[in-house]
C-alpha cells in the first residue's frame, strides 16, 4: 500500500476554544466569499442581459432573505479580510503568544461586525 501524507486532524477532534473557532471561521468564510463573489458575477450578468432580467434581482433584493444574504456576505467579506490581516502578521512572525493571539482574535471578531455595520450605514 502506498503511504499518503497525513491529513490535517479533522474538526471533531478539537476542544472548542476561541482560537480554533476563529480559524475554522476563516475557512468557512472563504467558501462563503466564493459563493458571494460568484453571485456578484451573476448580478453583473443579470445587469448585462437587461432590465427585464435585472427586475428579478431587484425584486429579490427587497425581500428580507435578500437583505439577510447580502448583509451576511458583507460580514463574511469583512471577517475574512480582517482575520487575513491577522494571518499576515503571523506570517511575518508576530503575535504568536496565547494572550496576543486571543486578543487579536477578539479584536478581529468585534471589528468584523463594526465594519459590516459601517458599510451598510455609511
Amino acid at each position: 500500500m502506498k503511504l499518503e501524507r497525513p491529513l490535517s486532524p479533522h474538526l471533531q477532534i478539537y476542544k472548542w476554544q476561541l482560537s480554533s473557532l476563529l480559524s475554522i471561521t476563516h475557512r468557512l468564510t472563504s467558501i462563503i466569499n466564493l459563493a458571494g463573489i460568484s453571485l456578484f458575477a451573476a448580478w453583473i450578468c443579470m445587469l448585462f442581459f437587461g432590465e427585464n432580467i435585472y427586475i428579478y434581482f431587484e425584486t429579490f433584493a427587497k425581500t428580507f432573505i435578500g437583505k439577510f444574504i447580502f448583509i451576511g456576505f458583507s460580514w463574511s467579506f469583512s471577517y475574512h479580510l480582517l482575520n487575513g490581516v491577522r494571518h499576515l502578521f503571523w506570517d511575518m512572525g508576530y503575535g504568536y503568544d496565547l494572550k496576543t493571539a486571543n486578543l487579536s482574535g477578539f479584536i478581529v471578531l468585534t471589528l468584523s461586525f463594526v465594519l459590516t455595520l459601517l458599510a451598510w450605514v455609511v
Partner: protein, 109 residues
C-alpha cells in the same frame, strides 16, 4: 524557489493587493445590492469602477484557487477526488472572472 513556497507567497501577495480593493468594494457593495437598473448602469459608466472590480475578480479568484488547494490538501484523502475538485476550482476561477469582466467592459462602453 520551491513551488509550494512560491504558491504560499503568491497567495499572500494577492491578499495584500486585495486589501485596499476589498475595503473599497465593501463600501460599494451595500449600495450596489440596492441599485435600480439605471443606477447600476450608471455605476459601470465610470470606467474606474470597472477597473477596480476587474482587479478584484482576477486577484480574488487567484487567491481563492490556492486557498482551496490548501483545504483540499488538508481534508480530501482520495487522490482522484482531489484532482477532480482542483480541476473544478481551476475551471471556475478562469470562467467566472472572464465572464464578469467581459460583461463589465461591454457595459462600460
Amino acid at each position: 524557489m520551491n513551488k509550494v513556497v512560491s504558491k504560499w507567497l503568491m497567495q499572500r501577495v494577492a491578499a495584500v493587493l486585495l486589501l485596499p480593493l476589498l475595503i473599497w468594494f465593501l463600501f460599494h457593495y451595500d449600495n450596489l445590492m440596492t441599485f435600480s437598473y439605471n443606477d447600476a448602469i450608471n455605476f459601470f459608466n465610470n470606467k474606474l469602477n470597472t477597473i477596480f472590480l476587474s482587479l478584484i475578480f482576477i486577484l480574488a479568484f487567484f487567491h481563492m484557487r490556492i486557498g482551496m488547494g490548501e483545504i483540499f490538501e488538508d481534508y480530501i484523502h482520495n487522490a482522484a477526488i482531489k484532482k477532480l475538485a482542483s480541476a473544478f476550482i481551476l475551471i471556475i476561477s478562469l470562467i467566472i472572472p472572464l465572464v464578469a469582466i467581459t460583461a463589465m467592459i461591454i457595459l462600460s462602453l
